[in-house]
């Protein structure tokens, strides 16, 4: 359990909050690149860390992310005209470049220099992989661009998606660290989902519902190892890396692409659940990509034209009680993504952690909360750069492996847990 004040510290990410200041030291996913598909395309409203912003791509292909509202009288620049190197408010024609600098106020003489005094808050927006990333912190501390492997492999090897999740970021992210729920909540999908099925490791998952857990720190977060019984006294390990503040990877299954998540706060009651799939040394097959686009694996189907999941709280997540009874799905909700989202949203917009009753297998979650709190305090009190900002910390992978009983996973899998370009992931 957590005290109320600690829960607030961890869950609030708006401007001026401790966790908000921590988040603002990282490059974070802001949009899919496909949302700004061409020069001078329509701008997109973006809310991140409780800041309302507008994203656009100018005439020269440069990306901008700035305050959504015109400095004149507060009109949303979503109505803006994206033309000739800037976004022009349609109300009185005020125009801004990608840096938020006002470059034209038609009602004032150019010689007055009036527009030079007008500048909206703006953040850098860069394309790495198929995602547009932003950094919302102090410019002098802007880190080098992210080096997560999924974003650095060739385009044909990777696929990313995002969905709206209507709850606080932390309770969503904790689901990524807690692998004990897989043997229950996702048990119906291990042998049926095209992006999961057929892996030898699945049988260990299903046969052993009481995994042993081992949590150890690395330089930017945790490794959470879940150990289940395999043959001949050996153990099947599934090792989940967590990189601060919110990156996790799911341990792989067979030769399926490996996948993972970010959970990016929209505000304190909503987040974007980013999901990626990639293969380190081959292109995704047509069938794999089609499955991802169809919402299989960790992805989901959408309400057309939106990033809102088709199964959502307004339709009770399309729950199928018959499927629940028959064991086709454990909770009655279809799809791994929405199985997680439905339960995490049901906790409430910000779960009350004073009422928790944690058990030993929650140690990963306990340690992650502590690391986040310590990092936020160290940043506030000593200006200490948080772990995970350094792009070298991004070169990490999840692993699934069978080991003899006397081998520690963090020693045996040291190389496997490192992203090595062109080297296949370690999987069972």
């Amino acid at each position: 359990m957590l005290r109320t004040e600690v829960n607030e510290l961890l869950t609030q990410t708006g401007p001026g909050t401790m966790m908000g200041d921590l988040y603002r030291r990282y490059w974070i996913p802001a949009l899919l690149a496909e949302e700004l598909p061409e020069d001078d395309c329509a701008p997109v409203r973006v809310k991140l860390l409780s800041e309302r912003l507008i994203a656009f791509r100018d005439s020269d292909g440069r990306y901008g992310l700035m305050d959504e509202f015109c400095a004149h009288r507060g009109v949303s620049l979503w109505f803006g005209r994206n033309e000739e190197g800037g976004l022009r408010c349609p109300y009185h024609g005020w125009k801004y470049d990608i840096n938020g600098q006002c470059v034209d106020v038609p009602s004032e003489p150019e010689s007055s220099g009036f527009c030079e005094k007008i500048k909206l808050q703006a953040y850098p927006l860069i394309k790495v992989g198929d995602i547009l990333w932003t950094y919302m912190g102090p410019p002098e501390f802007k880190p080098e661009p992210p080096q997560f492997e999924f974003a650095r492999v060739p385009a044909e090897q990777t696929f990313s998606s995002k969905r709206l999740q209507e709850c606080n970021w932390l309770q969503a992210m904790e689901g990524g660290i807690d692998s004990s729920h897989v043997s229950f909540l996702h048990s119906g999908n291990l042998n049926t989902d095209p992006l999961f099925k057929g892996a030898k490791g699945n049988q260990y998952n299903l046969a052993d519902r009481m995994p042993f857990f081992e949590v150890s720190k690395h330089n930017s977060g945790l490794f959470v190892g879940a150990r289940r019984n395999a043959e001949d006294g050996h153990y099947y390990w599934r090792i989940t890396p967590w990189v601060m503040p919110c990156f996790t990877m799911v341990p792989p299954r067979g030769d399926h692409p490996i996948h993972g998540h970010f959970w990016i706060p929209i505000d304190d009651e909503n987040c974007w659940a980013w999901s990626f799939d990639y293969h380190p040394n081959r292109a995704l097959s047509k069938e794999e990509r089609a499955a991802m686009e169809a919402g299989k694996g960790i992805h989901c189907e959408y309400v057309p034209g939106t990033f809102i999941p088709r199964a959502n709280k307004t339709n009770d997540y399309l729950i199928d009680r018959q499927a629940q009874k028959e064991g086709r799905t454990y909770s009655g909700v279809e799809g791994i993504a929405i199985q997680d989202a439905s339960l995490q949203e049901s906790m409430g917009p910000i779960v009350d952690r004073t009422r928790e009753n944690l058990v030993s297998t929650d140690n990963g979650i306990i340690m992650a909360r502590q690391m986040l709190r310590k990092a936020a305090k160290a940043l506030r009190d000593k200006g200490q750069q948080p772990p995970g900002v350094d792009p070298e910390h991004h070169k990490i992978r999840s692993v699934s492996v069978v080991l003899p009983p006397d081998q520690a996973f963090d020693e045996a899998c040291r190389d496997d847990l490192t992203a090595r370009p062109g080297v296949k992931h370690t999987s069972v």
Binding site: F212, S216, E345, N357, N363, I366, K374, P405
Partner: protein
């Protein structure tokens, strides 16, 4: 709203929770298996807890550590009524000691966690880790004492 799920996820609904405890207190026993761990737990025993008992496990008997007093008991008496046992070990721990405690907890179906309060790369830990892994459901490797406190508080010790 069209569904109970939508209503249940509003801030207003989530503020409503039945205002009674949703669990009875659990009996937590925090065990020090060597002198280094005993020193740490002797300090922690003086903090406010929700009924956690701190125990120094010796070769022949155990001592209940409370602030200012240490009472000698058998292992069975020390662990009597435990809902959860947290074994705190360091590189000074005797692996046989771990096995003895682990066997008792296993025989009595007590949920057991291992907390290795030492530098994770210390080679002296290897035989101890083998012993601990065989008898706990969860293991944390961490050199920071504050993490142990955090873990105990989170588990309502």
């Amino acid at each position: 709203m069209s569904s109970q799920s939508a209503r249940a996820t509003t801030a207003r609904e989530s503020q409503y929770r039945i205002d009674r405890p949703n669990s009875v207190g659990r009996t937590s026993k925090v065990l020090a298996l060597d002198v280094q761990a005993v020193d740490i737990l002797r300090e922690l025993a003086g903090y406010d807890w929700q009924g956690a008992e701190f125990v120094a496990v010796g070769q022949d008997d155990c001592r209940l550590i409370t602030a200012g007093a240490e009472q000698r008991v058998s292992l069975a008496e020390a662990l009597d009524g435990a809902d959860v046992v947290i074994m705190v070990v360091t590189s000074a721990t005797d692996a046989d000691q771990v096995n003895r405690v682990g066997r008792y907890c296993s025989d009595n179906r007590v949920m057991t966690t291992g907390f290795v309060l030492d530098e994770p790369g210390n080679p002296a830990l290897k035989p101890i880790l083998i012993a601990v892994r065989s008898c706990v459901v969860s293991l944390v490797l961490e050199s920071d004492r504050d993490s142990l406190i955090e873990c105990l508080r989170a588990l309502r010790a």
